[in-house]
């Protein structure tokens, strides 16, 4: 599983449609959702973190300006990915720097996200924070009650729909919805405590 999966499609479609109707709050949720992925892609072209942040911001602004051209033929993230890579390349050209000879493919970026850690792009402190966050999330998921853990994993790892999970777990859809939510909520409490510097 990687970026821009089928899991995101329905949610994204809803938010994109609202953005196309001029609701900036919907686009704000898309930015919050994809900011780290876009930053990650841009960082493959632009190594400097501050510059990369500017380019990522520019990419989101371009995406918002062109949102009415998005017809939904591809996933929203695929479209956003193209805008981000073009923005990064244009930035390099404008700065008189060479763009990478090998282009970054979205699948390659996916693999990169999944299997490679860009330690060289992160400060030691940021890398430590990321490691700590991963450990907390892993432990929180492991500590979940079985029914919550199964529902959440079937949803997040396997990308199954609520209906399919209901069939597998032999329970109503409402129960699946509730279990997934409670699982997320429990994990989030620990993540929030970590980010706020509170004891977990």
């Amino acid at each position: 599983m990687g970026t821009g999966s089928a899991l995101d499609d329905d949610s994204d479609r809803l938010l994109v449609e609202r953005t196309q109707r001029g609701d900036l709050r919907a686009f704000d949720l898309l930015v919050l959702k994809y900011q780290s992925r876009v930053m990650h892609v841009v960082m493959r072209f632009v190594r400097d973190a501050d510059e990369a942040e500017d380019v990522a911001q520019e990419a989101f602004i371009k995406a918002y300006s062109a949102i009415n051209n998005f017809r939904g033929d591809s996933a929203f993230y695929t479209w956003l990915f193209r805008i981000a890579t073009n923005a990064a390349k244009n930035h390099l050209v404008a700065r008189g720097r060479r763009t990478p000879v090998l282009d970054v493919d979205i699948d390659e970026a996916l693999m990169h996200d999944e299997n490679q850690r860009l330690v060289e792009d992160e400060s030691p402190q940021a890398a430590l924070e990321t490691q700590e966050l991963e450990a907390v999330i892993k432990r929180a998921v492991q500590d979940l009650p079985d029914e919550l853990q199964t529902a959440l994993c079937l949803r997040e790892f396997d990308g199954l729909s609520y209906e399919d999970i209901a069939v597998i777990m032999n329970c109503p859809i409402g129960t699946v919805r509730s279990r997934i939510f409670r699982g997320r909520e429990t994990v989030d409490q620990k993540v929030a405590a970590l980010l706020n510097g509170e004891p977990i």
Binding site: A26, Q35, M39, D113, L133, E134
Partner: protein, 213 residues
């Protein structure tokens, strides 16, 4: 106590709506409800960010810790653009009026300038004294026919011929003045060269030398 329970319930329902939105299980009405709740409770943005970040980490992506600052920058920038655009939209109907007013102002100013120019006297426009071969011709006319026009550049006055004097008479006057001047000079020179001078001058000495044996 009851109020706190209600608040917790509302928070619980808003968090559940967020969870359902993540899974694309929310309809339009649900999204509208959620956005209304987000307007009242901005911390829901942070929750949405954490939910999505947690999902990525569960899926095995190694991304940095979630931060609101980037999304805030994008949102502020887009809000600024939106405000400018709406302001431009409000001002758009006024644009033709502004252009028309500017054109009218320019028209009035140019018209005023042109009116001032045509009403100014043209007495100073031409040369005050007619010139023939770089010599000024001052006609000997009656005292009253010569007018004095104040010079535009200083306190001294310039003499100007009345415009009704014809050019032919000026040439005749010039010829008469020159003839008088030449006659005067001729008279003076003629008076100086007497016959005595001729006899005692250099010519007479040459004659006497040639007569010697």
């Amino acid at each position: 106590m009851e109020r706190q329970n209600n608040t917790n319930q509302a928070a619980g329902s808003s968090d559940e709506l967020l969870s359902r939105l993540m899974d694309g299980e929310l309809d339009e009405v649900g999204v509208a409800r959620l956005f209304k709740m987000m307007d009242q409770n901005p911390s829901l943005r942070e929750k949405w960010l954490r939910f999505n970040s947690t999902r990525l980490h569960i899926q095995g992506a190694h991304l940095s810790s979630p931060s609101l600052s980037f999304a805030n920058r994008v949102r502020d920038s887009l809000q600024g653009r939106k405000q400018r655009r709406s302001l431009r939209r409000v001002m758009a109907p006024l644009k033709p009026f502004a252009v028309a007013a500017t054109v009218a102002c320019i028209g009035v100013l140019v018209g005023q300038q042109l009116t001032q120019r045509t009403t100014q006297p043209l007495a100073l426009a031409g040369s005050p004294v007619p010139i023939v071969r770089s010599m000024p011709v001052i006609p000997f006319l009656e005292q009253g026919s010569v007018s004095v026009v104040p010079a535009s550049f200083g306190q001294s006055a310039a003499v100007s011929a009345p415009s009704e004097v014809p050019v032919e008479s000026l040439y005749q006057e010039l010829a008469r003045q020159r003839l008088e001047a030449y006659s005067g000079v001729h008279a003076v020179r003629g008076a100086l060269h007497t016959p005595v001078t001729l006899m005692t001058g250099s010519l007479a000495r040459a004659d006497s030398r040639s007569e010697q044996p």
